[in-house]
């Protein structure tokens, strides 16, 4: 995702640089453009939304207001059910404690997207690095893959408990309770989900490095680092991209499971996963409370997926030529 921002400032002095080609190809990918647009809208909504929106995500009305303002339906609900409790000040209604749903959705999106993206990038970088190293350098293969087996075997829940005991207190003292939890969760999800990526990348690298062009590169004395960067990585990019899109969804959902178990953010801190989780019990009464967070998670994942598709096509010189 960082590459896309780089491509937006093409070097104009040369007629057609490599990045310009990439951008040209990327632009012609309709899915990628729509996905990117959606992603930007979501990002804008969750980052800027809470600033301009008039309701606070954690405000609970008290006194007589409480009964009046709780369990409000979304305004569109009035279309088929005129007796429904709706109010234009609460476009998506309120939850069972009278907290504004739209505000919670926007605020929750910040956390979910931040956790999802950072944890995914962490897992991806770690997984790709270990996968490439293990696949390319035979001597490290055994050790790294046994490490991978070890991490695959470790049960997540006790690990979180241990991490919480060891680090939560010190982290929250040094960078504040919320930031501390954020770092803890991101690191935990990151270091417990790099293994599939590592194994997949390693498998591909094992096959790619036996191809003729690697042999050619090596025979003209190209250094290992350069071979990996220029020849191997571009050829294993597509499974990495798939891992990335799947990784975001997994991270967002894992975060919700963590909060559900009591290891995540403070309980008044909404995230998409938790909103979804909390509302499952009232699914038939208030379907909007599960639909909106669900739609937001799906939309984000879908848009990242299309972005990834476009990016992969754009970075593949064979497709770019066509």
């Amino acid at each position: 995702m960082t590459e896309t921002t780089q491509t937006e400032t093409p070097d104009l002095s040369t007629a057609r640089s490599q990045w310009q080609d990439v951008w040209q190809q990327f632009k012609s990918h309709r899915g990628a453009l729509i996905g990117g647009l959606f992603f930007l809208i979501i990002l804008f909504g969750v980052v800027v939304g809470p600033w301009i929106y008039w309701n606070n995500a954690t405000f609970v009305p008290t006194g007589r207001d409480f009964i009046k303002l709780r369990d409000m339906r979304p305004i569109y609900h009035g279309l088929w059910d005129p007796s429904a409790k709706v109010n234009w000040a609460y476009p998506l209604g309120t939850d069972n404690l009278g907290r504004d749903m739209l505000a919670r959705l926007m605020f929750g999106g910040r956390v979910s997207l931040a956790v999802g993206m950072t944890a995914m990038i962490l897992a991806l970088v770690l997984g790709t690095f270990i996968g490439v190293i293990a696949g390319y350098f035979k001597r490290l293969d055994g050790l790294l893959m046994r490490l991978c087996d070890l991490f695959l075997a470790l049960p997540l829940l006790p690990m979180i408990l241990v991490a919480a005991v060891l680090f939560r207190e010190s982290l929250s003292l040094s960078i504040g309770p919320e930031a501390g939890v954020f770092v803890l969760i991101v690191c935990l999800i990151g270091i417990t989900s790099w293994m599939p990526t590592a194994r997949i990348v390693r498998g591909d690298v094992l096959a790619v490095k036996e191809r003729e062009f690697i042999l050619a590169a090596r025979s003209i004395g190209t250094k290992s680092g350069k071979i990996i960067n220029r020849h191997i990585l571009p050829n294993v990019l597509s499974p990495i991209m798939v891992s990335a899109t799947l990784g975001i969804a997994t991270a967002i959902i894992t975060e919700s499971a963590l909060s559900f178990l009591g290891f995540g953010f403070p309980p008044d801190f909404p995230t998409w996963g938790r909103l979804l989780n909390d509302s499952v019990d009232r699914m038939t009464l208030y379907p909007e409370r599960v639909i909106w967070p669900g739609v937001m998670i799906s939309l984000s994942v879908l848009s990242v997926n299309y972005l990834g598709d476009g990016l992969r096509d754009a970075l593949d010189p064979r497709i770019r030529g066509r």
Binding site: R199, M241, I252
Partner: protein, 335 residues
Amino acid sequence: MLTFTIRRLIVAVPTLLFISLVIFMLLELAPSDPMAQVPLTVPAEVREKMRIALGLGEPTHIRFWKWLVQFFWVEPQVLIDHIFGTSFSDGKLRVLSWQTRSPVMDVVVQRIPQTLTVVGTAYVVAILIALPIGIYSAYRQYSWFDQLGTFVSMVGFSVPPFFSGVLVIVIFSVQLGWFPSIYDTTLKVTDWDSFVKQLQQMVMPVMVLALQITAQLSRFMRASMLDNLNQDYVRTARAKGLGEYVVVMAHVLRNSMIPVVTVIALGIPSIFGGAIITEQVFKVNGIGQLLITAIEANDLPMVQTLTFIFAVLIVLFNLIADVLYGVLDPRIRYD
């Protein structure tokens, strides 16, 4: 390849011992306590006595050694006794669960059938659906079929089972009344009627699980096929007049299988590991539910044994995947 396999199997032994040690230490460090589910009405002194009766009074290294002996020495004897009717294990202490006070392996054996039927079926169904979808989506990239496949699989993957599971229960059990919402583990398939019943109770958990697995597998299949469809050897194959079917199914597919094999190999241990959330939602009570309840109750012998069995399977199937790489792509050599 044979020497490679043998060498890996030998290396696996110290690896697994190390993994078991790490798991043990992790569980030791974890702050949860086996007395958590005992009501607060039980006084602290009694709790302390119960802890000591569980063996928690002994030092860590002795408990680890005991577990090793029980798992690697006594349990195999029990198995031999069971098969040959001998009595090697008489009077020896087996790995006992703290929750049930019964041998852990007995409970595991009791749970395996339902996990294998439900999760295993879901896996087979998912593979059967995902591979054709992935292949066709890649072959007709950006066709409506591909777009639909992408949409469904990504939505399917991003909807967590604690939501999709409850959704199908509300639709098919509560509203329509087609399927039972609770899996009956006492049902024995003896005739056609009980077989139909078994199918009915399997439909929903299998559906929810298969959706997740299909989404994942078909994405990797599609991406890998796309990589290979543009390779020169495909052009060569077409140029020499091979039919499209042969080109795609024989040449491209075989070369695209490496990531897919990895994903499947990573997934098979989880068939035995069960699916924690889906099993909880449908009350399948398989290995996944066993593990999560054991973790919640801090039943260390149970968690330790289950995760260790899981680790053995992971090591084994990753080895199988490595061997398969060599079969799929003979250029990959390990010596």
